[in-house]
């Protein structure tokens, strides 16, 4: 997918209702349930959760833009239930994850490896639009960074979540903890959705099965080029 350059401010792009996104082509990405029965860090999960019961959200629409300073991902998926708060011991919230390999040929279903770490952006409906930045070097190894440079705006309306997550293109303070974007280059990205009403959390979710290429367009903003 293409990540065009636009001449808008962070505030303009981060608004889920912003017309900035109207002309951007959405890519529909199919999601499938995670291979929960091979999770090496919980025999309990392997034995008690059936793969066919998880991964309720089957697809997600995504768009991407950058403005030369920050990068943004617009994500939208169908969800009949808004699970924004943990209201009881047995209730779970909706979540969205993005994964970026930081080095080499990391495997999405293995969440990277020691040699090929991945960067995770973790939005959850109860995080007050302050997504967490994590790294992983394999399943069970995810570790949250002390500080997150991620930002988001989200809304649930008429049975759809729209979440825009973004970050400065580069984060010098987190060279080992965060993917560093550079216009003109191609990156890889993957998506995952946790459906709270289906008790999805901690490995139980739906995911994009393989990484998609993400081409960061350099040079003039999209509109200017069209004109």
């Amino acid at each position: 997918m293409k990540c065009d350059k636009v001449n808008h401010t962070k505030e303009e792009i981060l608004d889920p209702g912003s017309p900035v996104w109207d002309g951007v082509k959405a890519e529909k990405i199919a999601l499938d349930s995670t291979p929960i029965n091979t999770i090496p860090t919980s025999k309990y999960i392997v034995e008690t959760i059936k793969r066919e019961k998880i991964g309720k959200v089957k697809s997600i629409e995504v768009k991407s833009l950058h403005n030369g300073k920050e990068i943004f991902f617009w994500c939208r998926w169908k969800d009949d239930t808004e699970n924004r708060e943990i209201t009881d011991v047995n209730t779970f919230v909706d979540g969205l994850g993005m994964m970026f390999p930081m080095k080499g040929d990391a495997k999405i279903e293995e969440m990277g490896s020691k040699k090929e770490p991945v960067n995770l952006w973790y939005w959850r409906a109860d995080f007050d639009d302050k997504p967490h930045n994590l790294t992983a070097q394999g399943i069970g190894s995810t570790q949250a960074s002390e500080k997150s440079f991620l930002f988001s705006k989200s809304k649930w309306e008429n049975g759809y979540w729209t979440v825009i997550m973004g970050r400065p293109l580069t984060v010098k303070a987190q060279l080992k903890e965060a993917v560093q974007f550079k216009p003109g280059q191609t990156f890889k990205a993957g998506w995952a959705v946790m459906e709270g009403s289906n008790n999805e959390r901690g490995g139980a979710m739906s995911f994009s099965v393989y990484f998609r290429n993400l081409d960061l367009v350099d040079g003039a903003p999209a509109k200017a080029r069209k004109g």
Partner: protein, 340 residues
């Protein structure tokens, strides 16, 4: 720093195991242990429903409500599906009409009562109810903490390896930085002794008072107990009270051994007076049915009770009994052997 994913077997290993014995013949249900624990560890926001130590009257549905029916643990070594309790199973804290009674001049015609939605459960909800028909009704008190199991289902369940046994003493701890509040541990623990903190959105549990133990001071629940019902020592230490009560005299047993988590909290089962027959004569049956005790402590309970009776008989006849000397606990500090 990258996080090193350890094998579950390594997270469950410990060189030694601190353990506790609780004598149910001596517990008077005063809840001093519960209050001692609560004041020390679970007074913060989000922890209201957390009783790392609780005492309930049994037979009963317990705390959280019906915890014995919520599954979890293992069967033939395989993890079993567990169900999460709800807030209602812990019981919401009541608000009372203090304002009305104390400050609105109505003290003579209104009484203190809960306001808002009535709670229908809480810790110690069934105090002194028990079971059976008069004159053969019966009950006893069952104090419970995390069992710091040798095969902890919570450690097995956590996909983030947030739970682990301390290698030096086997205490099961939950790394609050790794915990993401997924609640698989709450599901998997058959004793329902991990709790969910709503404020922090993380699970928390009994820490066996390890900061006190590191200063060679016994656990708050044990040290506060006016009935002197709790012993603490390393399970392998042959000179310690726990070894003597569990291995030597075999009078202390784990709760629900069929959950297969190998608890490290053991109970001396309760003796009870004989039942009355229809004509008022004393029968040869104990008031607390042996089948009920077996359902809690397994088949070994019968022999444990026989040993207790035999040793009590010895003392009654003027003899001596190491077992009874331990159980009487004349010197409080003899109950705790925290160094090997």
């Amino acid at each position: 720093m990258a996080y090193e994913v350890l094998k579950k077997a390594d997270l469950m290993k410990s060189k030694r195991q601190l353990a506790m014995v609780i004598d149910l013949n001596k517990c008077i249900g005063c809840h001093t242990c519960t209050i001692g624990c609560k004041r020390l560890w679970t007074e913060d926001e989000g922890m209201a429903h957390m009783y790392w130590n609780d005492v309930v009257t049994v037979p009963g549905r317990g705390y959280p409500r019906d915890w014995q029916k919520l599954g979890g643990g293992y069967k033939d070594q395989m993890p079993q599906k567990g169900t999460l309790p709800t807030k209602a199973d812990y019981g919401e804290a009541w608000e009372f009409n203090y304002e009305e009674v104390f400050f609105q001049g109505k003290g003579l015609d209104t009484h203190l009562k809960p306001t808002g939605t009535a709670t229908d459960w809480g810790p110690n909800w069934e105090e002194d109810q028990g079971a059976g028909e008069y004159p053969n009704s019966y009950y006893f008190y069952l104090p419970r903490i995390c069992n710091h199991c040798s095969k902890p289902a919570c450690v097995e369940a956590c996909p983030r390896n947030a739970l682990y046994k301390r290698p030096e003493d086997g205490i099961v701890l939950q790394d609050q930085e790794r915990c993401q509040g997924y609640r698989y541990c709450n599901e998997a623990c058959p004793y329902k002794k991990t709790y969910f903190n709503f404020k922090k959105a993380k699970s928390q549990k009994c820490i066996f008072c390890y900061p006190r133990l590191e200063k060679k001071v016994a656990n708050a629940c044990a040290r506060m107990c006016p009935g002197r019902v709790r012993w603490v020592s390393y399970k392998e230490d042959k000179s310690g009270p726990v070894y003597k009560l569990t291995e030597k005299w075999k009078v202390a047993l784990p709760l629900h051994p069929e959950f297969e988590t190998e608890p490290n909290v053991f109970y001396v089962p309760p003796l009870s007076p004989p039942q009355y027959g229809p004509d008022g004569s004393l029968l040869d049956e104990p008031r607390i049915p042996i089948e009920y005790l077996k359902s809690l402590f397994g088949p070994a309970v019968e022999e444990a009770l026989n040993t207790l009776k035999e040793e009590m008989g010895k003392r009654r006849n003027g003899g001596s009994s190491e077992l009874l000397d331990i159980l009487i606990a004349r010197r409080f500090n003899d109950m705790f052997k925290l160094e090997v």
